[in-house]
């Protein structure tokens, strides 16, 4: 395997560069996935049937906590990449762990939020609105959940093998994924919650 030392480790081999571009293309597909969910959400958001509307069930506090936690985790994963490029494995792992912990907190609050919705009578089967709300949030939440497992796997590999072209590549790609989830959340925050409570 040819290693190009003029580039950061995560870009240093052909295979790594392929993987990074491939992941960007995957993110392009994810844009469409969430766009479809948003389109469906906007169309169905009036379809509340007998159930409550968004304005009736949204609460600002958990949403704000989720937003701040996720924004911070996006910051820490950015620092993770920065530390990785400086070759500081300890700091890198620290930021990585911080990100995963923040992700877990986010997920915890989201689960609380879901329980709350079901509690106030907006379950999956209540109305088209509640279903698309939970599906949109749930798809993002499932991505976060998957990210937690995936990130943990990578973290173990970083611990085991150190900062190699392979592990740095995986960590970098994970950071792309995590930032992307943050972007999606910003759109959910703006166009599901804030618009709903406006």
């Amino acid at each position: 395997m040819k290693i190009d030392h003029s580039l950061p480790l995560e870009y240093s081999t052909d295979e790594n560069r392929l993987k990074i571009l491939g992941f960007w293309i995957f993110l392009g597909a994810e844009v469409m996935l969430f766009a479809t969910l948003f389109a469906s959400y906007f169309i169905l958001s009036g379809g509340t049937g007998d159930g409550p509307s968004g304005a009736e069930i949204f609460e600002i506090t958990p949403v704000l906590i989720e937003t701040l936690v996720l924004l911070t985790s996006s910051f820490t994963i950015g620092l993770m990449v920065h530390a990785m490029r400086l070759g500081r494995q300890k700091a890198m792992m620290g930021f990585f762990i911080a990100t995963i912990v923040l992700g877990a907190i986010f997920l915890g609050v989201e689960i609380y939020e879901f329980v709350h919705y079901v509690h106030v009578g907006a379950g999956l089967q209540t109305s088209a609105f509640s279903a698309i709300l939970l599906t949109t949030l749930g798809t993002h939440g499932a991505h976060v959940t998957f990210g937690l497992f995936w990130g943990t796997c990578i973290l173990i590999q970083v611990k085991k093998y150190g900062l190699t072209p392979r592990t740095t590549n995986k960590s970098f790609i994970f950071s792309l994924y995590w930032h992307f989830l943050d972007v999606v959340w910003i759109f959910i925050f703006s166009f599901v919650y804030l618009k709903g409570m406006m």
Binding site: L18, G28, L33, T36, L44, L124, Q125, S127, T135
Partner: protein, 648 residues
């Protein structure tokens, strides 16, 4: 016992029981045969675990041909039922299931793998790459497609086939009106295959963008590769929509949500909307690679460079964008009003412009050429007039006011068959004849091939031209019967004759494969067509590393130039080559996905959870596996090259 009742077929007929027996016998025969000839090891090492794009391509094509016959059998049954008024061959339910599976199988499990198969085989060779960007993902794509296809195909013997049409409009497809598990099969089998296709899209986009031979800039890529690039862009952005739509459909059917129900705020129109947001780009996913094939074939056998290369590329880019803004023309009659219909009517007809440019470019490629009429060329020359007929009727359908009369009639059915068969199927058959020598080292018989091409072309005309007429006479599509008084009888009888001709044509192709396998000469060299692009520059059979050394590209047709001018294409110095290792993971994941899908269809939650965990376990294993691939040594390469007749 309620649990087991779901597995029974709701509307059994002797034909289905016979199929069950046939499936069982064939499966047992395959297992016994492989065991008897001791081929399990070979099969596992060389095919099931392979990550080689050429072998995956061949497997895609084999699967596509199998599915062509499955979908074709459906078609023959449909045409037979309709060949006379008040016919009693099939009942309504059976007919509904058959036209549903015909549509799904032909679009998603025949045309798609055919195209992706040729993309797999040809694209890396055409750009001078060793393999695709992510060989294992490529294998996974194939096995996901295959798992989806098999899951869909067992529906008619276990639990019943979907019966709500290939568009599966809600609320018809909801539990209330489609009570069997058929539509679950539809939702989940297509979902699994769709994930594989999405992965293919990402894989090939990366491959084409990053792995071209040195010197091959984007504007020096062969036209098929260009079409593959554009197609994969469309796949990447269209398939996620299908993923979401199918997921919502699955939730509606299995988890009691109300996305597309007419109660509790649901909206049946949304399914149609999402389905066609994917569905229309899908049409271009099918047709663009076909255009790519025609470009290669026509330029090869006209012995001329492709006319208007730049406008060909530009027209494909424009088509890819337009393909995303026309979907509403599939439901002009849903009551959106004149304004919305006008917008989408204009965008729809606008697509005719870039498509027309391509037709004229092909015609002008023939100009001052030296045309040799081989079988692939014959298909291409038959494609132009037939596709033009299909294409202009598409423009007619694009006029939304008139579409109120065409919609849901045989006119529409005639239109899309007249584009898809001459457009896609002819292209795939042309590609089959064209690339067969590169794949298998011998040529298919040209004479038989040409007879087959004529039978298929005339069969297409005879089968589908009458539908234009019966459509304008008021015959709706998807009717399992009609009255004597309607006067549709004669047109459907003619269609039946055409369908039989098509069947005969395809049978002749199979015979041709058998005949040529037995009798065709094997000493055909590596460039039997005197072709122009890079895939013909390597040996036949293609060594696993494709090219011993990376070719240097300086024009759109470097291989042709090097043949004409004698300039060297390949540098001398051989270096060791890095290749990926085979892996059983994609195949195993395919099997688990099949079981996952089956559990999901029948709402068996515990096996479903186990399978889900199995899938994640495979992914984790893959993540932790330390597989750096292997190197092929210089000596090994030199030996292979010598064996194949000298270094290229």
């Amino acid at each position: 016992m309620e649990f087991f009742e779901r597995f029974a077929i709701p509307h059994p007929s002797p034909a289905i029981y016979a199929s069950m027996v046939a499936i069982a016998i064939v499966s047992i025969a395959i297992v016994v045969g492989i065991t008897y000839f001791k081929k399990w090891g070979y099969l596992w090492r060389e095919w099931l675990t392979t990550v080689d794009h050429k072998r995956l391509g061949i497997m895609y094509i084999i699967a596509a041909i199998l599915m062509l016959f499955r979908g074709g059998a459906d078609a023959i049954m449909m045409r037979a039922q309709l060949s006379a008024p008040e016919n009693k061959l099939l009942d309504a339910q059976h007919y509904n299931e058959i036209f549903t599976t015909h549509g799904v199988v032909m679009i998603l499990f025949m045309a798609m793998p055919f195209i992706i198969g040729f993309m797999n085989f040809v694209v890396p060779l055409q750009i001078g790459a060793r393999d695709v960007a992510f060989p294992r993902l490529n294998a996974l794509s194939f096995w996901l497609f295959f798992a989806g296809a098999m899951l869909f195909n067992i529906s008619f013997v276990i639990g019943g086939s979907p019966d709500a049409g290939w568009t599966s409009y809600f609320p018809l497809a909801d539990n209330e009106f489609s009570t069997s598990v058929g539509t679950n099969y539809y939702m989940i089998a297509i979902q699994i295959a769709g994930l594989g296709t999405l992965a293919t899209g990402i894989n090939f986009m990366t491959t084409i963008l990053k792995m071209r031979a040195p010197g091959m800039t984007l504007m020096k890529m062969p036209m098929f590769t260009w079409s593959a690039l554009i197609t994969n862009v469309i796949i990447v952005f269209a398939f996620p929509v299908l993923t979401v739509a199918l997921a919502m459909g699955t939730l509606d059917r299995l988890f009691g949500t109300h996305f597309f129900a007419s109660t509790n705020g649901g909206m049946d129109m949304l399914w149609a909307n999402l389905f066609w947001v994917w569905g229309h780009p899908e049409v271009y996913i099918l047709i663009l690679p076909a255009f790519g094939i025609y470009s290669e074939v026509i330029s090869t056998f006209a012995r001329r460079n492709l006319y208007g290369y730049k406008s060909m590329v530009a027209s494909m880019v424009i088509i890819s964008l337009l393909s995303f803004v026309v979907w509403v023309h599939h439901f002009f009659t849903m009551g959106q009003g004149a304004f919305v219909n006008s917008i989408f009517s204009i965008t729809t007809m606008a697509i005719a412009v870039p498509t027309g440019v391509k037709i004229f470019n092909w015609l002008l490629t023939l100009y001052k050429g030296k045309i040799t009429m081989t079988t692939p060329m014959l298909y291409s020359m038959l494609f132009i007039p037939l596709f033009t007929l299909g294409g202009v009727t598409g423009v007619m359908l694009g006029m939304s006011a008139a579409d109120y009369q065409y919609h849901n009639t045989m006119f529409l059915v005639a239109h899309f068959h007249m584009v898809i068969i001459p457009g896609v199927v002819f292209a795939m058959l042309a590609a089959l004849y064209y690339y067969w020598p590169k794949m298998f080292g011998f040529m298919l018989n040209d004479r038989l091939g040409k007879i087959g091409a004529w039978i298929i072309a005339i069969g297409t005309l005879v089968a589908f031209m009458p539908m234009f007429i019966s459509g304008l006479d008021g015959q709706a599509r998807r009717m399992y019967t009609y009255s004597e008084a309607s006067g549709f009888g004669i047109w459907n009888m003619i269609s039946m004759v055409g369908a039989l001709m098509l069947a005969a044509g395809f049978a002749l192709i199979v015979y041709n494969i058998y005949y040529s396998f037995r009798y065709a000469p094997r000493d055909i060299g590596s460039d039997p067509w005197d072709a122009r692009t890079l895939e013909w520059a390597t040996h036949t059979p293609v060594p696993e590393y494709n090219f011993a050394t990376m070719p240097k590209i300086d024009s759109y047709e470097t291989f042709w130039d090097s043949k004409k001018k004698g300039t060297p294409l390949f540098p001398d110095k051989i270096e060791k080559i890095h290749m990926p290792n085979n892996s059983g993971i994609p195949f195993i994941m395919g099997i688990i996905f099949f079981m996952w899908g089956f559990s999901f269809v029948f709402a068996m939650w515990i096996p479903l959870i186990i399978c889900t965990l199995g899938i994640f376990a495979c992914m984790a294993y893959q993540s932790f596996e330390n597989d750096h691939g292997r190197y092929i040594s210089i000596e090994e390469i030199e030996e292979t090259e010598k064996e194949l007749g000298g270094k290229r």
